[in-house]
Each structure stands twice: as structure tokens, then as C-alpha cells.
């Protein structure tokens, strides 16, 4: 995990053209040099509800 890890690195330029209804977000064709890998090393992660974490993980003390 030596690289800096911006998993999404977008070049965001929001254009509001004179009479356009919406906005365009320009994304660079190549990712910048300091992006992370497309998939995190672990690939899967789990969220455990904060209040129930001790129930899941226990404590180190008997």
C-alpha cells in the first residue's frame, strides 16, 4: 500500500454553456499518476454497526 490512494481521481470541470439545460463534467482520458488500483487489495469489506462491534469481535480480556 505504498501508493497514495485516490480511488477516484476525476478531473472535474463543470461547464455551464450559455443556453444549455444541463452541465457537463469533463473526465480525463487517462487517470492521473497518483490514483490507486481499480480494486482495493481486500476486494471485499464488511461494515459492522459501531454499537455492535464488541458483540462481533469480543474483547481481548477474559
Amino acid at each position: 500500500m505504498g501508493r497514495t490512494m485516490k480511488i477516484l481521481a476525476l478531473t472535474i470541470a463543470i461547464y455551464f454553456a450559455g443556453s444549455a439545460q444541463g452541465s457537463a463534467i469533463e473526465v480525463s482520458g487517462t487517470p492521473p499518476a497518483n490514483t490507486s488500483a481499480a480494486l482495493p487489495e481486500a476486494f471485499v469489506s464488511y461494515s459492522i454497526e459501531f454499537a455492535f462491534f464488541p458483540d462481533f469481535a469480543g474483547t481481548s480480556l477474559p
Binding site: S36, E41, A42, S45, F50, A51, F53, P54, F56, T59
Partner: protein
């Protein structure tokens, strides 16, 4: 999972209850939670954690964690702010030596002013106020880390999952939030956004 992929799953400790947890140094138990069915039947909404809460980070070897700090109560009252300052050293010591993946500050802040468990921000809550509070709190986190866990303050060891919105079309919009400077310190390592299965209600009513 670890055997299949070569790396154990990351464990993110957070959710709605991360934004209710207040720290009580005298609490002998890891956690003391009180349910209020009018607010939620699924989890306690009055929560105190003690020092031994953080022992739970030592029971699963070779695992990386994301620890979520309290912005819900932390950003607008002194007990919550004290909790932040007091739990940063406890969390960083529990997660040193490679157990920390990244930090999180606040869960689903885009719902703070509309939460069906009871809003924790006024109707005037908006992206720029959120960004101000997030930057303020994360700078305090960094400051505590510099004091108590200085080896966890480099670009490789210090960073956040953010903004952890509940969706892309709630009260705070992600692009506005980003444009308002959420990443001005370039410490957001992963842009996080929650996606609920279409059959899971975002809010529950009883």
C-alpha cells in the same frame, strides 16, 4: 475470504450508531446502549463507550479496520467534541502497527437534517456547513494523532473514507460537497457512497 483473495476483508466499524457514541472514561463495559423504540428499534440511540471498547480491535489478527468517529453529535455539542478528542488517541493506539486502513468522520451526513431517528442538524444544514465541520473535525483528529500517534500522520498512513453519504440525491449533494472543498487537504483516500438494495427501505417506519 482471506484465503481466496490473499487479503482479509477490511472491516469498517461505523454506521448510524457511530454518530451517537459518546465516550465515558469511567465505563467498565465496552459499551452501554439504551434503546428508544420511538427513534429506532434496531439499535440504541443513547450510547456510551468506555476505554475497553477499543480492545475489540485486537481480536482479529491480520485485519485492517476503518474506524468511524462521531460527527453527528461531535460537530455541534461539547460532549461530542470531547469524545472526538479523547477517542482519537485510544483509536490510534488500538490500530497502530498496520491495523488501520483509514478513518471516517461522520456516517451519512447527508441525512443529518432529515433523519427519521431525529435530526441532528437544523434545516439550514447544507454542503458548505458540512464541509466546514468535516474539515474542522478532521484537523482536530490530525492534531491529536500528531500528539499521540505521530507515526500515523504521513500521506501513507493518514487519510479518510468520505463523505459516506447515504445516497447521491439526499439533502447534501456529493458534487457540490466536493466543489466546496471537502478534499482541500488531499486526505480523502476513498470516496465513499452508500448504495441500498432497492428492496431495503432507507428509512423505517413503525
Amino acid at each position: 475470504m482471506g484465503d481466496f483473495t490473499g487479503t482479509k476483508p477490511y472491516i469498517r466499524v461505523g454506521g448510524n450508531t457511530q454518530d451517537y457514541a459518546l465516550y465515558n472514561v469511567s465505563l467498565k463495559e465496552a459499551i452501554n446502549g439504551t434503546y428508544n423504540p420511538a427513534r429506532s428499534v434496531d439499535y440504541p440511540t443513547t450510547i456510551f463507550i468506555g476505554p475497553s471498547y477499543f480492545d475489540s480491535y485486537s481480536t482479529w489478527p491480520d485485519t485492517k479496520f476503518i474506524h468511524g468517529f462521531n460527527l453527528g453529535l461531535g460537530g455541534n455539542n461539547s460532549a461530542g467534541w470531547e469524545t472526538l478528542l479523547e477517542t482519537v488517541p485510544l483509536a490510534c493506539k488500538a490500530l497502530q502497527g498496520g491495523k488501520l486502513l483509514w478513518w471516517e468522520y461522520g456516517n451519512e451526513p447527508d441525512l443529518y437534517s432529515t433523519s427519521s431517528q431525529g435530526p441532528v442538524r437544523p434545516p439550514t444544514w447544507n454542503e458548505s456547513t458540512y464541509v466546514k465541520q468535516w474539515l474542522n473535525g478532521t484537523q482536530a483528529i490530525k492534531s491529536q494523532l500528531e500528539k499521540y500517534c505521530p507515526d500515523m500522520t504521513s500521506n501513507a498512513t493518514y487519510g479518510y473514507y468520505a463523505p459516506s453519504f447515504a445516497g447521491t440525491n439526499n439533502h447534501l449533494k456529493p458534487i457540490t460537497t466536493w466543489a466546496d472543498g471537502l478534499d482541500v487537504y488531499e486526505d480523502i483516500k476513498l470516496i465513499s457512497s452508500h448504495k441500498y438494495h432497492p428492496h431495503t427501505p432507507l428509512t423505517k417506519s413503525y
